[in-house]
């Protein structure tokens, strides 16, 4: 699913990632741990195509990151979903519209969109909040909307960048359970977090530790 070889990245003269090498198989649950400033977010942004690869090679869900054209980028993003710490939901739109967005972009028929969105939101216990605006939701609910939007397209790979960063312990654990469920259904999960207390909660998870831009597998 993901293969990274000798990946390095710098912002100017500041080397954020140094000679990173790892491989993630399909269906794995990976924790990318490390303190703030270790380079976790930068690595995820590279894997999602948000910033271009500078040195090395990266293959994500069948896409070669070093040869990614502007036409291929949207296709990569339809295969690889991402969840952020700050949710990135459209606050002035409803829960339903937010979750339906990726399906509309893909040109899915309206009745199919309604069925899928309904199923995903029910799975996340959000079925009574379809028509509420996202700005009317709590932090945990908004994060669930972001997750729903990420998984409604049934991605091969889900990248999560500090998804529990703005949530309390209880919500964080619930979120982890949701991720575990998706992982059981075959979605590869790469979850970046500086919260080491979450690591033991997912038994089958593998940990990649990042410190000062250098990777060590724990």
């Amino acid at each position: 699913m993901i293969t990274v070889k000798h990946l390095s990245f710098s912002f100017g003269t500041n080397w954020v990632l140094k000679d990173i090498n790892f491989h993630i198989k399909g269906g794995e649950f990976i924790f990318l741990s490390g303190p703030s400033g270790a380079g976790k977010s930068t690595l995820l942004r590279i894997l999602h195509g948000a910033i271009p690869l500078q040195r090395g090679h990266g293959y994500v869900a069948g896409f070669d990151l070093s040869k990614l054209s502007s036409r291929q980028l949207p296709r990569l993003r339809r295969a690889v979903s991402v969840v952020f710490q700050d949710f990135k939901v459209l606050s002035e739109q409803s829960v339903r519209d937010n979750v339906a967005l990726p399906l509309k972009v893909m040109g899915v028929a309206k009745d199919k969109i309604d069925r899928r969105v309904g199923a995903v939101l029910r799975g996340l216990n959000m079925d009574n909040k379809f028509d509420l605006l996202c700005k009317e939701l709590s932090g945990g609910e908004q994060q669930r909307v972001a997750i729903a939007r990420a998984i409604v397209i049934k991605p091969k790979l889900l990248l999560a960048d500090e998804p529990t960063g703005n949530l309390d312990e209880e919500l964080s654990l619930r979120l982890l359970e949701i991720f575990q469920q998706f992982n059981k259904h075959g979605t590869t999960i790469l979850l970046a977090s500086h919260n080491r207390r979450l690591l033991p909660k997912v038994e089958q998870a593998r940990v990649l530790g990042l410190k000062n831009g250098v990777l060590a597998t724990e």
Binding site: S70, R71, P74, R75, L76, R77, R78, S81, V82, K88, V89, L90, S91, E92, L101, P102, V105, M106, G107, R149, I153
Partner: protein, 291 residues
């Protein structure tokens, strides 16, 4: 084709989001276009008045008295058909004598001159000059009239032709550069207004990019919406302009001014719509080109 229609519908739907912001943009652009259109209307009417007041020249033609009257009358008919001839006033020798008598307020009897009338057959021909070719036209008509059989003398005021060219030249040299600069400034203001109006869309465009929307899917509805807003703004601005014209129509249509304010031509309106639509779409594209 179907995808383009879908994206157009999406663009129209997006105009309903943040309706306050869209209305403010529409009002701002409408007022700016209205001000620009007022200036164009003013220049348009100044130009019309200039052409009407300065754009005519009168030639006085004097025929040989020995030429047959039928031949002279035939030539008068021919002159009437010349292009750009707006009017011709003709005088047979007797008619010329009567006109002279009238100018002397009939205080002096000129009946004794009837048998040996010294006045030649005369015509006063008014020609409408084309502003850019005034001098050339004057020379051409002078040569044409002088070449006509029996025409002994052609008289005109050369300073009049000069004056016409000068006024037109002033209009073009002074006004057109000013118009271009004004159009540029208006374009900048409108462009900036559209750019700022898209700030509120940033969040949505970021998310669209995130979920894998293609560049076309993101940009086309925004550009289409901007085009629609530009057309609507121009429409409302022209409505306001028409209302202004109706209100002020008779303001200058009084003696001795007699100036009727004319509305813009279809060509001018088409240019306005085209230019504004281009500016709005281009400035919107500048605002969202990285998405």
């Amino acid at each position: 084709m179907f995808i383009i229609l879908r994206l157009c519908r999406q663009g129209l739907r997006e105009l309903r989001v943040n309706i306050c912001s869209q209305v403010m943009t529409l009002v701002a652009v409408t007022l700016i276009v209205f001000l620009g259109a007022m200036f164009i209307l003013l220049m348009h009417n100044i130009k019309i008045q200039l052409y009407e007041d300065q754009g005519d020249i009168s030639f006085e033609l004097y025929w040989d008295k020995t030429l047959k009257e039928s031949e002279i009358k035939r030539q008068w008919q021919m002159i009437k058909q010349f292009p750009s001839v707006s009017s011709i006033t003709t005088y047979t020798p007797n008619k010329a004598l009567k006109a002279l008598s009238k100018t002397l307020h009939e205080s002096v009897s000129l009946d004794w001159l009837k048998s040996s009338n010294p006045l030649p057959p005369t015509a006063v021909v008014t020609v409408k000059l084309t502003p850019h070719a005034a001098k050339k036209m004057v020379q051409e008509y002078k040569s044409r009239f002088e070449g006509m059989k029996g025409v002994k003398k052609v008289h005109f005021n050369p300073l009049h032709a000069q004056s016409t060219s000068s006024w037109i030249s002033i209009l073009h040299r002074l006004v057109w550069p000013f118009t271009v600069v004004l159009a540029f400034i208006i374009g900048l203001v409108i462009g900036n207004t559209f750019k700022l109006s898209h700030l509120s869309k940033r969040e949505e465009l970021e998310v669209l990019k995130l979920v894998g929307a293609s560049r076309w899917y993101i940009q086309f509805p925004v550009l289409f919406g901007a085009g629609i807003q530009a057309i609507l703004s121009t429409f409302f601005a022209l409505l306001l302009l028409k209302l202004t014209q109706i209100i002020f129509l008779d303001l200058l249509n009084v003696p001795p001014i007699w100036i009727e304010i004319e509305f813009l031509t279809f060509e001018q309106i088409a240019y306005m719509v085209g230019l504004l639509t281009f500016v709005s779409i281009f400035s919107s594209w500048l605002a969202i080109r990285n998405y």
